[in-house]
C-alpha cells in the first residue's frame, strides 16, 4: 500500500489539534466563570459562592490536565512533522509561540497550582488575585496562539530572504496587528466562553432536574446564562467573517464557505442550503436569499464578491508571476557568494516575490516550475480550490449551533431575571442536551478555517505538500496509531472522572473565615 507522507502528517496534525481543541475552549470559559464566581464570593462573603468556585474548579482541573498535556504535543509537532515549515517560517511563526510561553502560559501554569493548593495559605483577596491571574494567562495564551494561526491565514509583515531561503519578519507590528488574527482571537475566545457557559448551564440544569444542589445550581445558571448570552452574541456578531475580506488571500475560503462558483452581480445572494458539486462547479438545489451575502461580506451594495471560477483564473496569473519570481530567485542564488545582485534582477524579484509561493504549487507536477506547461499551470490553479462541500456544510453546522446558543442563553437569562429557574422541565432538558453542541460548533469551525486554507499551509506562501519533514510514511503512521491509542484511553478516563465528579456534586465546604462573619450577617440558607 502506498502511504502518502503529506496526507499522514496532515491527519496526525488534525487529530491532535482537534483533540487538543476539545479541552482548550472549556478551559477558557471555565477559567473566567470560576473567577467571576470567586469575585462574587469575595464581595459578598457568602460561602455558597466559595463552594461554587471550588466545585467548578474541580471540573476545570480535570479538563485542564489533558489540555496541557496535549498542548505540548502541538508545540513539538511543528518541528517533528513539519520541519520544512519550521525552517521556512520559524523566524515569524516561532516568536508568538515563544511569547505565549513567556507572557501567558507561565502565568497560567504557575498560578493554577496555587488556585488548587492555596485556599488555606492565602487571604481571600490573595486567592482571588491568583484566580484572575490564572484566567488572564489562559486568555493571553489564546491571543498569542491565534496571532500565530492568523499569520498562517494572512502572512502580513514578512518577506522572503533569498540568502536564508526563508520568510523573515519585516514588521513585527504588522504580525501583531494582523486583522485576521484580531478577528480570530475575539471569535475563538468568545467561543470558549460559550462552551464554558453552556457546560455550566447544562450541568446545573441537570441538578435542578434531579432536585439536587439547588442553591448552587440556580446561582450557577444565572452566571452562565448572562455570561453565555454576551459571549454567544459576540461569537456570532463579531464572528471572524470580518477577517476574511480584510485578507486578500482568503477570498477563496469565503467563496468555498458560500459555495459561490461564479462572481454574481452585487450585492450577492446568500445560499442557505444546497449541495455543492465540485466537479461540475455547481450547487444543486440551492436556496438563496438575495442581497444578504453582498451586505454581510462587503457592507455595500456595489462591491462584487469574487466567485471560485474567477479566483481560479486569478490564481493562474499569480502562478505566472510566481514563476518569474522563481526564475529571478534561482539566478540570484546562482551568483557567486558575496557578489552584489544586479539591479534589474533585484527589481524583478521584488516585484514578483510575493507570488513566489504560487510557483511552488507547481512542484507537485514538475521539479522546476520554470519548465511547467500551460496545462500544468492550469492544474495548479485548480488546486487552489479547497474542498467546497465539507467547508460549506461545516460552516452551516457552526452557525446553526451559534444561533441555538443565543436562543438558549437568552431564554435562561429571562428565566433567571424572572426567578423561574426551576422549570419548565423540557427547557431544562434542552439545556442538558445542548452540552455537546459547543464542541461540535468549535470543531466544525476549526475545520472550516484550516480546510478552507488548503492547499496552503501559509496562505499564498508555502504549499502544505512542501512543508512536511522527510520522514518515512510508516514512521508517521506508527505515531498516529500511538497518539490515537493513548488519546482514546485518556478521553475515556477523563469522561469517567468528569461524570463522577458531577454525580458526586460539590464538597461540603468549611470556610475558615466564615466563622468571623457575625451570625446576623451570615446568609440564611
Amino acid at each position: 500500500m502506498e502511504l502518502d507522507i503529506v496526507a499522514l502528517s496532515r491527519l496526525q496534525f488534525a487529530l491532535t489539534a482537534l483533540y487538543h481543541f476539545l479541552f482548550v475552549p472549556l478551559t477558557l470559559g471555565l477559567s473566567i466563570l470560576v473567577a467571576i464566581m470567586e469575585t462574587v464570593y469575595v464581595m459578598t462573603g457568602r460561602p455558597i459562592w466559595r463552594q461554587m468556585t471550588k466545585f467548578w474548579g474541580v471540573l476545570f482541573g480535570i479538563n485542564f490536565a489533558i489540555g496541557v498535556s496535549t498542548g505540548i504535543v502541538m508545540e513539538f509537532q511543528f518541528g517533528m512533522n513539519w520541519s520544512y515549515y519550521s525552517h521556512y517560517v520559524g523566524d515569524v511563526f516561532g516568536a508568538p509561540l515563544a511569547i505565549e510561553g513567556l507572557m501567558a502560559f507561565f502565568l497560567e501554569a504557575t498560578f493554577v497550582g496555587l488556585f488548587f493548593f492555596g485556599w488555606d495559605r492565602l487571604s481571600r483577596v490573595g486567592h482571588l488575585t491568583v484566580t484572575w491571574l490564572m484566567a488572564l494567562g489562559t486568555n493571553f495564551s489564546a491571543l498569542w496562539i491565534l496571532i500565530a494561526n492568523g499569520w498562517m491565514q494572512n502572512p502580513a509583515g514578512a518577506v522572503f530572504n533569498p540568502e536564508t531561503m526563508r520568510m523573515e519578519v519585516s514588521s513585527f507590528y504588522d504580525v501583531l496587528m494582523n486583522p485576521v488574527a484580531q478577528a480570530k482571537f475575539v471569535h475563538t475566545v468568545s467561543a470558549g466562553y460559550v462552551c464554558g457557559a453552556i457546560f455550566v448551564l447544562g450541568v446545573s440544569a441537570w441538578y435542578v432536574l434531579k432536585g439536587r444542589h439547588l442553591e448552587l445550581a440556580k446561582r450557577s445558571m444565572t452566571v452562565a446564562a448572562s455570561f453565555g448570552l454576551a459571549a454567544s452574541l459576540s461569537v456570532v456578531v463579531l464572528g471572524d467573517e470580518s477577517g476574511y475580506l480584510t485578507s486578500e488571500h482568503q477570498k477563496m475560503k469565503l467563496a468555498a464557505i458560500e459555495a459561490m462558483w461564479r462572481t454574481e452581480p452585487p450585492p450577492a445572494s446568500f445560499t442557505i442550503v444546497g449541495f455543492p458539486d465540485q466537479a461540475a462547479r455547481e450547487t444543486h438545489y440551492a436556496i438563496h436569499i438575495p442581497w444578504v451575502m453582498g451586505l454581510i461580506g462587503t457592507r455595500s451594495l456595489d462591491t462584487p464578491i469574487m466567485g471560485i471560477n474567477e479566483l481560479t483564473q486569478r490564481a493562474e496569473g499569480f502562478i505566472r508571476k510566481g514563476v518569474i519570481a522563481y526564475d529571478a530567485l534561482q539566478k540570484i542564488r546562482g551568483l557567486p557568494r558575496g557578489s552584489a545582485i544586479p539591479e534589474d534582477l533585484r527589481k524583478t524579484f521584488e516585484e514578483n516575490g510575493k507570488d513566489l509561493g504560487y510557483a511552488l504549487l507547481l512542484k507537485r507536477y514538475v521539479d522546476d516550475p520554470r519548465q511547467a506547461t500551460p496545462e500544468q499551470i492550469l492544474r495548479a490553479a485548480n488546486d487552489t480550490v479547497p474542498m467546497v462541500a465539507p467547508i460549506f456544510w461545516l460552516f452551516r453546522i457552526m452557525v446553526g449551533c451559534g444561533l441555538i446558543f443565543i436562543a438558549l442563553t437568552a431564554v435562561f437569562f429571562v428565566q433567571s431575571a424572572r426567578r423561574r429557574l426551576e422549570g419548565p422541565r423540557w427547557l431544562l432538558w434542552l439545556a442538558v442536551l445542548a452540552i455537546p453542541l459547543p464542541w461540535i460548533a468549535i470543531e466544525a469551525g476549526w475545520m472550516v478555517a484550516e480546510l478552507g486554507r488548503q492547499p496552503w499551509v501559509i496562505e499564498g506562501v508555502l504549499p502544505t505538500a512542501l512543508a512536511v519533514s522527510s520522514l518515512g510514511a510508516h514512521t508517521v503512521l506508527m505515531t498516529i496509531i500511538g497518539f490515537t491509542a493513548l488519546y482514546l484511553v485518556l478521553i475515556v478516563i477523563e469522561m469517567k472522572l468528569m461524570l463522577r465528579a458531577i454525580r458526586k456534586g460539590p464538597e461540603p465546604d468549611h470556610d475558615p473565615e466564615a466563622a468571623l462573619v457575625p451570625a446576623a450577617l451570615a446568609p440564611a440558607e
Binding site: 474548579g57 482541573g61 490536565a65 489533558i66 496541557v68 498535556s69 505540548i72 504535543v73 508545540e75 513539538f76 511543528f78 518541528g79 517533528m80 512533522n81 520541519s83 520544512y84 519550521s86 525552517h87 521556512y88 520559524g90 523566524d91 516561532g94 516568536a95 515563544a98 511569547i99 505565549e100 510561553g101 513567556l102 502560559f105 507561565f106 501554569a109 504557575t110 498560578f111 493554577v112 497550582g113 496555587l114 488548587f116 493548593f117 492555596g118 485556599w119 495559605r121 492565602l122 491571574l133 530572504n161 540568502e163 536564508t164 531561503m165 526563508r166 523573515e168 519578519v169 514588521s171 513585527f172 542564488r333 519533514s469 522527510s470 505515531t479 500511538g482 493513548l486 485518556l490 463522577r500
Partner: protein, 384 residues
Amino acid sequence: MILHELISYEHLRLIWWVLLGVLLIGFAMTDGFDLGVGALLPFVARTDVERRVAINSIGPVWEGNQVWLILGGGAIFAAWPQLYAVSFSGFYLAMFAILMALILRPVGFKYRSKIDSARWRNGWDWALFIGGFVPSLIFGVAVGNVLQGVPFRLDDTMRIFYDGTFFGLLNPFALLCGVLSVCMLLTHGAAWLEVKTEGVVRDRARSIGSVTALLTLALFVLAGVWLYYGIDGYRFTSEIVRGGASNPHAKTVALAPLAWFANYQAAPWTLIAPVLGVLGALATFIAMRARGEVSALLCSNIAIFGVIATVGVSMFPFILPSSADPNVSLTVWDSSSSHLTLFIMLVATVIFLPLILAYTAFVYRVLWGKVDAKAIESGDGHAY
C-alpha cells in the same frame, strides 16, 4: 526599523545562545526535580499515604515548572528555527516517546487521587514513574548524540534529510549520557523530597540520593574522559563569519581530535563549568550524608548547572554538528533567526523573564514547608 541595530547581530546570537542555556538549565533545575520525584515514586514511597506525600510535594509546582520545557521549545523555534527543525524531526521517535511519557504526567497527578482504589492508584504511580524516567533518559541520550554529531544533511533549499535511525541513537556513549542524566535528576528529585517531606520518605530519598549523587559524579567524569580519548569534536576550517545571514552552507567544517576541549584551552576560565559539575555532585553527596536538606538541594542545582553548561561550552560555537555532512553543522553564527526577530524576542524576554522569576518565587514562598501527612489523610485542601 533601526532600533534593533542597537545590538549587533553577532551579540544577539551570543545572547540567545546563553538564553538557550538558561532555559535548558531552568528546565532541569525546576522540572528536573519533578521528573526525579516521578521516577523515584515507586521506590521512596510504598504506602498510599507515603506516595501522596511525595506527589503532593511537587503537586502545586510541577505545572509551572514544566513551562520551562514548553518555553524552551518555543524559544528554540523562534530563535533557532533550523535547530528546532533538524532536532525535532531527526529525533522523531525519541521525541514521540518523550511526548507519550510527558502526557502521562499531568493526568497522573490529577487523576490518581480521584478514585480510591489500589489498582487505579498503582497504575498511575507507574505512569508517573514512566513520565519521570523516560524523558530524563532520552534528554541525556539526545545530548550524547549531539556531542558525537547527528547524521543529517541539508539540500540547497534547506530541506532536511536525516540518515540515522532510532536505534542508532542508542550507542554506548549516548546511553552513558542518558544514565548520567537519569542519575542527576534522581539526585535532584531526592534532594527535593528531603526538603519537602519527613520520616521514611525522606530517609529513603536520602539513601537513594546519596548513591545517585556519587554515580552522577563518576559518570560525568567518565563521559569527559571518553570524550577526551575517544570522540572527535568539530571545528571550523573556513573563516568564521559571525554577523552573516543564517545559512549553514556558507562554511566548511572538519572533525578533529580534542576539538571539544579547544575552548578550555583558549579561555581557561570556562573550566569553571566542569569544575562546578564535579564539585556540585560531590557536595550534594556530602550534604546528604550530613543531613543538610536545603544545602543538598542547592548543591544539586549547582551540579545541574555545571553539567549542562559543560556541554554548551565544550561545543561552542557548534549547537548541532552534522556527522553526515559536517559543513552544514548548525552553529551559533549561522542557524539563528533574523536580526530583527532575535531583538524582539530579547525585548520580550527582558520584560517577562524577571516577572516569571518573581511570581515563581512568590508561589514557592507561599507553599514553603513540609508536606503534612496528616493533612493528606484527613483530606483537607485540594491535595492530590
